[in-house]
Symmetry: C2
Amino acid sequence: MTAPSDVIREVLARVIAQVNTLSAGGPGWTRPSYSDLESAAHTMIEAEALALGMAVHRDAAGNLFARMAGRDPAAPPLYMGSHLDTVAEGGAYDGQAGVAGALAVAATLRAQGMTPHADLVLVVTRAEESVWFPVSYAGSRAGLGLLSAEELQACRVDTGQSLAQHMRAQGFDPEEVIGLQPPAPARFLEFHIEQGPILDEAGEPYGIVTAIRGGLRYRAAQVLGSWAHSGAAPREGRADAVVAFAQLVVAMDRVWSAMLDEGHDLTVTFGRVDAAGPAHAMAKVAGRLDFCLDLRSSDAGVLDLANARLLAEIAVIETATPGIRFALGIQSRSQPARLSEAMVDFVRTGATLQGDAPRLMLSGGGHDAAAFAAAGWESVMVFVRNWNGSHCPEEAMDIEDLARAVEAVHAALLQETRA
Amino acid sequence: MTAPSDVIREVLARVIAQVNTLSAGGPGWTRPSYSDLESAAHTMIEAEALALGMAVHRDAAGNLFARMAGRDPAAPPLYMGSHLDTVAEGGAYDGQAGVAGALAVAATLRAQGMTPHADLVLVVTRAEESVWFPVSYAGSRAGLGLLSAEELQACRVDTGQSLAQHMRAQGFDPEEVIGLQPPAPARFLEFHIEQGPILDEAGEPYGIVTAIRGGLRYRAAQVLGSWAHSGAAPREGRADAVVAFAQLVVAMDRVWSAMLDEGHDLTVTFGRVDAAGPAHAMAKVAGRLDFCLDLRSSDAGVLDLANARLLAEIAVIETATPGIRFALGIQSRSQPARLSEAMVDFVRTGATLQGDAPRLMLSGGGHDAAAFAAAGWESVMVFVRNWNGSHCPEEAMDIEDLARAVEAVHAALLQETRA
């Protein structure tokens, strides 16, 4: 028999590489939410699960579930998994690593001939990356019966077609999604790259996540000013959308610094800025600029506070420069999620068995685990060290680090099975 | 006989409206440099000139000249005109008004049966709007024998084809442009909308321009930082290209204010900002931002000073944020031009004859008149009040104001003819 550690490494390396053969083209990897490529990736994982003898089904939203029956049908199942869509020009590990990690646990149990204590369910969600549809955790929330009819009408930014249309095109049923009967709340575990520098800087291979930051977003905000000639319009009297935007960015950077000093958890990011339309030119004062703003915190109250300070800074700029007006557009939110102490202990037990002491940490990125937690599931995440950023082609991770995290969870499962 | 004032108004209204039937589509008007549309507009004006019995020719670069012989072949000819290309989604008057104004002067003399003292030459230049080719006054400088072989290789931003290729496509000869024998330096007069608020705010219909600001431009500058996850990358350690750019904009706005307080003539404009490529997203810290910077002054030394302060501000930002690097790219310049005192007096004489006292003023925008002045011509501009900005569809002007400016020049010509 192949050693468990070898099975884990083989599955991780193979599955991640296989999924990444599916991409709309480089640089990096692009598998849009509810695209043919995302569906093909699900089919790939389905084949792996079937080969392990797992019982497969998809829900009305196209989330994939593969069940390995446990010894005690009454014990709360352990769902494990992640998503397979990516941002545009994304990295090789975001989502993929979590699916491969879950599959590696199942494959190892199978290779050992072990039956887990509780049912083990591999779950591969849809549409986790909200850059495509302006909806948080669309796939997992659909699977949990929490997606609204209104959200089904959200349009994908590249195609302009609705979430419902895209679901239907991939063979699923948006009508059935409304009122979908979700699985009974159980346990959920998600492996994921950290997407931040903390583990890398500390030299630690993995950590356990106790909470997930929520977000407050303006995806389609604008600054409106007055178009004018760059050489002919005097400084006095200009309403330059670029200058007003720059003032807001610098002001919010100051607000961020101050709020961190006050002890709040917060990130502030203006990730997308567009003053490069056909009407913009080197020789023109810009009369318009479009931007996105993403505020995140583990505390919903802090998001409200940061938003209030944003509005105050905008009022200052608008008052100082007649002709400048900010139009923030629709605000969207994802709620911060506190994860399960019991599940943190579960992972820590396995880690301790192999001599590890993973740190407890926050997740800055939103993840399906937040949706499961919000739906009353006992949820946890295991973060794996990564570097070179994330959501970008350079995103890097060591399979060895992920394998060590998977081994910890595998150890915890064996412990539970033997108990 | 139709009264001179009626001829002027008829020509202005008709010619501007006719030229503006030629546009690549709205909003506003789009006639790219060395496009079929620009050529069609030249053909329109050629027909008008031929109808007035003027002798027409084009130079190797496609600039159009139409001559009405004067009484004294030894007297320095008066060239009058402007350009017919526009920025993308530009206004109804920039360039067009200057060509129509010059044609109105010629039509009035013809209607009166007057022969001017000196040759009157209508000149319609090519490629004045440097948003298409990154070359200042490409057409007029070609006609003045001042365009370099290197500049002929500059590519149009939308087509990617070179200036030489575009000249050839419109039936002209870029090889001949190099070493072109220009007309002997003479007098040049250009009517143009002000493109700024000074005349409008003062309630004055027209003014006389004594100098044209030069420019120092970075057309393809970049801020390079590090891509990161918006929710996972802590404030400490970010190299956010958007924040660094905003810091530079705010710093240069402060520099601008300070330099104005020091008595310098200067404008500072970041007219185009692009952090909206496929790699940018709401949930990503931007690792790159592209921008344009346009500095203008009537004093070349002030441009150098502003550029030095720009570099100093960039050094401060780069030092404060490891991982941030500015790449300004190629710097291009147009020299400030002092216009002709004799020609200012010429226009003022005509104005005085009709009871006007037009103010002397600066031009913030660059114009072909600057190229003629740099080539040793006695050049002047007459600015016409406009509002609602310029280089934009809303750009507005009253034909009556232009007519009054044209009447002043017509009066000056009659005076010269009678003297």
